[in-house]
């Protein structure tokens, strides 16, 4: 827990710098095309944002190691700096100064390009995310759609990395990665659609402001689907098959070392941070104003991040065919039916509360939808408990009654 707090503290440290520059400035979204070229502030902001992201990435590697270590009854890295906080930076320095090794038979250009292909989309994703209220690189009206579109490019990099390495382990990682990333795209996007339905907008800020009741209560099913889809997109446990270390060593980045590995490794955490931010915005209610809003957002993000770390510290991995079965046989139909039901519910509350078309749903309508959805969610859990063939979940631990007399 102290690590969670520590994570928060570190994030707070950066905030004043951001605020200093943007406290009395108008938000960037008001720049016109000419302003962008004239406004040097934009570039400073961009620089700060990217430094902030890289800083968070490095810290997250440390935070995860500490947290999971504590779950494992260990201490975790505690040598570099106070409590070991500089561990991530030490790793980074070590990795950057390592030799740039490219396998002889690898496709050199693609091999070098792949880490860039993996990292760029994830960095690009932050262009629309309102980390600080009013501060976005581009407050696009299609915000969430942009996020989905940009991040799906990541699978390209994964496949490029795996294929260019010319190693069998990498090949397996790449192929698995593509199948998995591609499969989880569909339920993820469908579930985002339900959120869009409720808020009536694709803009991230507008979605956040539409949440009179946090959408995690309104849409628990969508939340779970998005949570696990994102875990799959991020290659995190229980869906980390494309870098399954006990099976295919390191998956698509088996051959990578040095800076390129650092990029791939860091991107995992950067993407985790980005997606956690998105989930926090989509599901955890309003964005507050000013520094308080920033802290609240970071706290919400930390919860999601902690969930990912927690899963990793507890659960094993799911097999490839099971992963695809979960995506297609459970999540996809659930998400589709969820859309139909949600749309029906919206029509229902619009008619009983006489809401004009185009107006946002108020508190009471959302409350009714919440109640219905929670009941449905409970029912779903019960139904799933009875379904066989999802890997025979009905067979629990049993006590064997040993038969001592009879042999064989």
């Amino acid at each position: 827990m102290q690590m969670l707090l520590f994570n928060m503290v570190v994030l707070i440290l950066v905030t004043p710098i951001l605020l200093l520059i943007y406290a009395n400035k108008e938000p960037l979204i008001q720049y016109t095309s000419q302003d962008v070229f004239n406004g040097i502030n934009f570039f400073i902001g961009l620089f700060i944002l990217i430094s902030f992201l890289l800083f968070v990435t490095t810290m997250l590697t440390y935070v995860e190691r500490r947290l999971v270590a504590r779950m494992q009854n260990r201490i975790g890295p505690n040598r570099v700096g106070p409590f070991g906080v500089l561990q991530g930076f030490a790793d980074l320095i070590k990795l950057i100064t390592k030799e740039d090794l490219i396998p002889t038979l690898a496709n050199r250009n693609i091999f070098s390009l792949a880490p860039i292909l993996i990292m760029s989309p994830v960095l690009l994703m932050f262009a629309v995310i309102p980390i600080l209220p009013g501060f976005t690189i581009a407050d696009l009206d299609i915000g969430i759609f942009y996020v989905v579109a940009i991040t799906s490019l990541g699978s390209l990099g994964v496949f490029a990395a795996g294929w260019a390495s010319n190693s069998k382990y990498s090949l397996y990682g790449a192929v698995r990665g593509v199948a998995q990333l591609v499969s989880y795209e569909v339920p993820l996007v469908l579930s985002i659609c339900t959120i869009v339905l409720l808020s009536g907008s694709l803009n991230l800020i507008e979605i956040a402001e539409a949440q009179e009741i946090p959408f995690i209560l309104v849409q628990p099913v969508a939340f779970l689907i998005i949570l696990f889809s994102v875990a799959a997109e991020l290659n995190r446990t229980p869906f980390d098959i494309n870098e399954a270390d006990s099976e295919i060593v390191a998956g698509f980045h088996t051959e990578y070392s040095g800076t390129k590995f650092a990029l791939i490794y860091g991107t995992e955490y950067l993407a985790a941070f980005g997606w956690s931010l998105v989930i926090a915005i989509l599901f955890f209610g309003h964005l507050g104003p000013g520094i308080g809003g920033f802290l609240m957002l970071m706290a919400k993000t930390s919860i999601i991040l902690f969930l990912f770390f927690w899963f990793r510290g507890t659960w094993p991995r799911v097999r490839i065919d099971q992963i695809l079965a979960i995506a297609w046989k459970i999540m996809f139909p659930l998400a589709t039916i969820n859309i139909i039901i949600t749309a029906g519910e919206i029509l229902f509350v619009q008619s009983i509360f006489n809401i004009n078309p185009g107006n946002a749903l108020g508190l009471q309508p959302l409350a009714i939808i919440t109640i219905i959805n929670i009941i449905l969610f409970a029912g779903l859990l019960v139904i799933l408990s009875f379904v066989k063939g999802l890997g025979q979940f009905d067979k629990g631990p049993k006590r064997y009654v040993p038969d001592i007399e009879g042999v064989n």
Binding site: L28, I29, Y31, T32, S33, D35, V36, F43, I50, I96, T97, K98, T104, L105, A106, P115, M119, S120, P121, L124, I137, A138, L140, S165, N166, S167, K168, Y169, L171, V175, R176, V178, A179, E185, V189, L190, C193, T194, L197, G200, L202, V249, T254, E255, K260, L263, D321, L324, A325, K329, F332, T336, I337, I339, I346, L347, P357, G358, N359, L361
Partner: protein
Amino acid sequence: MAETAKYWGVLFMALAAFLVPTSLIFLSHIFSKIRIRPKPDSEKNVSRGAPYESGMTPVGTARVKFNFRFYLFALLFLIFDVEVLFIFPWAARFLHLGFEAYVAMLPFLMLVLIGFLYEWKKEALEWK
């Protein structure tokens, strides 16, 4: 405020997002040229540049005609992702559109689901 102006921000972000990893790789490339110690003998070793295969010399190439069962899943993704694309604008405007839009979308979603069930029945979703 022009909507297009915002995309300039995205463009610069894209440039930055491309430059950050590129410069890091370039930087390490420069570092790798600086040699403090002479080239060790191990660097002339052939197996140094060989792909990893648990310490064994790899048999054959990794560029094989892979049994790509995932191909089916990729195709499925194509089909359904395009359909999802149709849902997005509808969902964004749904609060404005009301009952007629629901009635219009329902058959479409049903078609998607029926198609999905058909594929399930045809065992396109099974591993074998």
